[in-house]
């Protein structure tokens, strides 16, 4: 790799320390450097850990089933999230109900935790909607496909929260934060840097949650940055932390810290969740053209779901009946997707004229009227 700084690329960067509370073997780590983060997960008992496990299993089943539906021609495209479940579920489980999420488009685990309906999540890929859900329902903005744009929207929303007096009140029912998700590729976008500037100078309650999944389609992270991404915030005056994004507890812990800072009026945080995109960029991508099988195999050993399962077993929190229930829930989800995605009806063509403006607009209405007449006449002629 030309110009690649030593050790910044993929698995070779293990030398850079990150927050890790559960190792790939499913054993809790004991390093003193992470003690404060460890304390942040001390209250998580069997039920909470099982909830996270279930979130992750359902997220992966959603991913697999969506990929299959694309292969069957039921979806036009699907961006796979396999491998990033721990970063997404752990961080999202740290949120309060009133917090607002601005995702990119691979945050299937976040949407799962926030309760966005799985069928609604696929409307965009079915080609029947550009959005799919009401952002107000679960306090999750629509997917943003123009990379990094949403980091500015998140920051603006956070500026609104400040004006609404919802920061630093000390009341957990009121203090509110925003989290924006983006990736290592998007980190190069100017909008991300502008968002860091606006957030920093205003001390805005926003968490920049960067999932470094090692690949921006075919470009490794070394094509995006010469320093570890968690240091990106430093020059802006924003504290940064790198977390093992395949460790759901560590992801949860760093997020609680970032959120507490935001709630209290301490301003933004930059989190780099170090993880791996095990699948393709999208169903149109072919990773064999740009990355080695050995690398994928190495990361497969750090599978975030296996890791949490191992922890549950190691701590005697696993129960076969419960696990069978989770598997059954995943099967139910898959069955529902197979049935309900196929039955999403195509919208009528004339609906393309809806909602261009909130108020009636002469040009749109003229064209809608023309199109309606044209369609009627064409139908008449065909009869």
């Amino acid at each position: 790799m030309l110009n690649a700084p030593e050790g910044s690329d993929g698995a070779s960067a293990e030398g850079v320390p990150f927050v890790q509370l559960v190792g790939p073997d499913g054993r809790r780590t004991e390093g003193a450097q992470d003690a404060a983060y460890r304390d942040r997960t001390a209250h998580l008992g069997t039920e909470e850990l099982r909830t996270m496990y279930r979130d992750m299993v359902l997220t992966r089943r959603f991913d697999d089933e969506s990929t299959a539906l694309q292969r069957q021609g039921e979806l036009g495209l699907y961006p796979q999230g396999r491998g990033q479940e721990a970063a997404q579920v752990g961080s999202a489980r740290a949120l309060r109900p009133q917090d607002f999420v601005f995702p990119s488009y691979r945050e299937h685990g976040v949407l799962q935790v926030r309760g966005v309906d799985p069928v609604d999540r696929l409307r965009i890929y079915r080609g029947t909607e550009h959005g799919g859900w009401d952002p107000a329902d679960h306090r999750v903005h629509l997917n943003t496909l123009v990379l990094g744009s949403q980091t500015l929207h998140a920051t603006g929303y956070a500026l609104g929260l400040q004006r609404d007096g919802l920061v630093g009140t000390g009341d957990p029912e009121r203090d509110t934060a925003v989290v924006t998700y983006f990736g290592d590729g998007a980190s190069s976008q100017g909008d991300v840097s502008e968002a860091l500037v606006f957030a920093a100078v205003n001390n805005a309650p926003v968490v920049f949650f960067c999932q470094n999944n090692q690949w921006a389609i075919s470009e490794p992270t070394s094509r995006q940055t010469r320093v570890p991404l968690y240091k990106r915030g430093e020059g802006f005056g924003i504290p940064g932390v790198r977390v093992d994004g395949n460790d759901v507890l560590a992801s949860y812990a760093v997020m609680t810290e970032a959120l507490e800072r935001a709630y209290a009026g301490g301003g933004p945080t930059f989190v780099e969740a170090y993880t791996y995109r095990m699948g393709a960029h999208t169903t149109s991508d072919d990773p064999t053209r740009y990355r080695e099988r050995a690398e994928e195999e190495e990361w497969a050993l750090r599978d975030p779901i296996d890791r949490l399962a191992a922890l549950l077993r190691a701590e005697d929190r696993w129960d076969d009946d419960w696990a069978a229930g989770v598997a059954a829930d995943a099967e139910t989800l898959a069955e529902r997707l197979r049935a309900d995605v196929r039955s999403i009806e195509d919208p009528p063509s004339v609906s393309m004229f809806d909602h261009v403006y909130a108020t009636p607009q002469a040009q749109v209405e003229t064209e809608r009227a023309w199109f309606t007449t044209y369609q009627d006449e064409t139908a008449e002629a065909a009869r």
Partner: protein, 334 residues
Amino acid sequence: MSTQTMPFAKALTAGLRAALDADDKALVMGEDVGRLGGVFRITDGLQKDFGEHRVVDTPLAESGIVGTAIGLAMRGYRPICEIQFDGFVFPAYDQITTQLAKLHYRSRGRIQVPVVVRIPYGGGIGAIEHHSESPEALFAHTPGLRVVSPATPQDAYDMIRAAVVSPDPVIFFEPKGRYWSKGEVDLDSPVPSLDGGGPDPLGTARIARTGTDVTLVAYGPTVATALSAADALAAEGTSAEVVDLRSISPLDVPTVVDSVRRTGRCVVVHEAPTYFGPGAELAARVTEECFYSLEAPVQRVGGFHTPYPVAKVEHDYLPDVDRVCDAVDRALSH
């Protein structure tokens, strides 16, 4: 009725002040808009009266201004962004066209983004590069945006207030070369309503002068040019009607068509380059709808297909009375 004579710039300031008074969710944000009052002093005194949280000096980053305005709008605010000069809107062009213009559409009406983007535009002020451009066609070509440009102090006062209450994003082009032109302003004029009941206050053209021989269609800075040309034409015995579009998107086609059907001739005047400019759309629409009333092809007067030229030659780039009269002569020669 408190009618006062004031410059266009002061009418805008009064309109912004009224908008901030009327809705405590309205915010002014941009570079230097606070303490300085903006480089053109349009926001003069507003921060002093409304505070730093409502009249916000932002970092020097246009995409950031519009991008955070979108987030504020999603939180229920009505941001009024100032872009310092026309040529500096392009860093924000991505946020405006891919996000601001589309959020209502892609959310199927669930999200409204009532953001106003004010842009001082146009030439004739002897400025350096990037300070004299007219990029309105780029925004008019984007579905989801309203694109307007007032020509008189009264319209500046009325239209900025209408823009702030508009649930749709508005790109508000201010003819900076006319900032110091004076006119009467009725400060008690009601806030224009966009509820769909009456005429669209942001989308309805105005007959600035009646005439019978030719229709001059203009907006923003060229309305005054067209009116001066109409004076000159009258002296030669030609009666020109002047239509002030006020809105480039939507276009008030019926008002233009009605006028051209009466006069039989149409000359469009704008500072933007004629090539793929608003005049091209107007010429097409007039031709489609007034073909049998037209005595001559629609004429266009505008900027050339060059980057905005250096200040010492801009007088020959911008449409002036002579070029408008020349185009009218061409129309009359048929």
